[in-house]
Symmetry: C2
Subunit: 145 residues, 2 copies
DNA sequence: ACTTATTAAATTGTACGCAATTCAATAGCA
DNA sequence: TGCTATTGAATTGCGTACAATTTAATAAGT
């Protein structure tokens, strides 16, 4: 007999393994991130700063798919740790500029070993990793509009 | 010039699109889940209950990759909504049995349209969806040990 | 039987994550 | 120039997540 509720079974969901995988991987990051005194969300925020050096909260939010409700307290914590500075733009005081500090730059040297160490936890063929990467960005692209 | 910090760029991460994708999809679920008065986490908990009818907190946690710190308050909320009952096992009082109620069963009828509606948000070929599904469970399997 | 170890939930504390609202600054327009 | 609309952050409130600890119940070993 076919089950009319088959579509509600956990094993038939695509979102659930996405959700679980994301959580479990972030959990695996923790011991490595503890070494540099960052949470995962703080880490990806620092990644953007390491690359751009300076940007405002809105831009950062667009990079990370996060809003000010998440970023405001997070950036205050990173400022307290000395990794960045927050100052209002003089041209437009609505914009809050986020600037990396010398300590923030220094941290990059300690963090650079993290991607390699995490790579060992996820054993995918290059081909598989690329497939996964592309599928995820395909979905993200569709969700953007 | 090669950038020695290339591995720290957001665009070279595999975990980040996983994290972002998971969050964005869960966000897309919200309007549909509002209709049945569930959050995403409550929804996947109900999925397990719809299938099994009854199980204890530990088993549920293993299905969902969640611990009692998350599940205890969540199950209390679902109990308050009338979708399930929580009672200690008589055989072993350490175990808390979670039992679906008649209202919980009823809810399944309202929820059955959700997977289809969400499917429209994610436009993947069958082939792609299967690839993604398998890659995610491959990673989850590796993270289990 | 008594002691110790293990187990299952609950609790505590910290950090997101997001919808909704508020507030201040600027842009647009009559 | 005023008035209104929009914009960017901050705030508020609620619901997870999870590490670490606590508590109560049972299992295991002597």
């Amino acid at each position: 007999m076919s089950d009319e509720y088959e579509s509600l079974k956990l094993k038939n969901q695509l979102c659930f393994p996405l959700y679980a995988c994301s959580k479990e991987i972030v959990r695996r990051y923790k011991p490595f991130l503890d070494e540099v005194d960052l949470t995962y969300t703080q880490y990806i925020a620092m990644m953007v700063l390491w690359e751009k050096g300076e940007l405002n909260v809105k831009e950062l939010g667009e990079c990370l798919f996060l809003d000010s409700g998440t970023l405001t307290p997070l950036l205050k914590k990173l400022e307290k740790k000395g990794f960045l500075e927050r100052k209002r733009s003089e041209k437009d005081e609505r914009n809050l500029r986020v600037l990396i500090t010398k300590e923030g730059e220094e941290l990059k040297k300690k963090a650079v070993c993290i991607p390699e160490q995490m790579g060992k936890c996820i054993q995918l063929e290059t081909e598989e990793a690329m497939q996964l990467y592309q599928l995820l960005y395909k979905i993200l692209g569709q969700l953007e509009q």
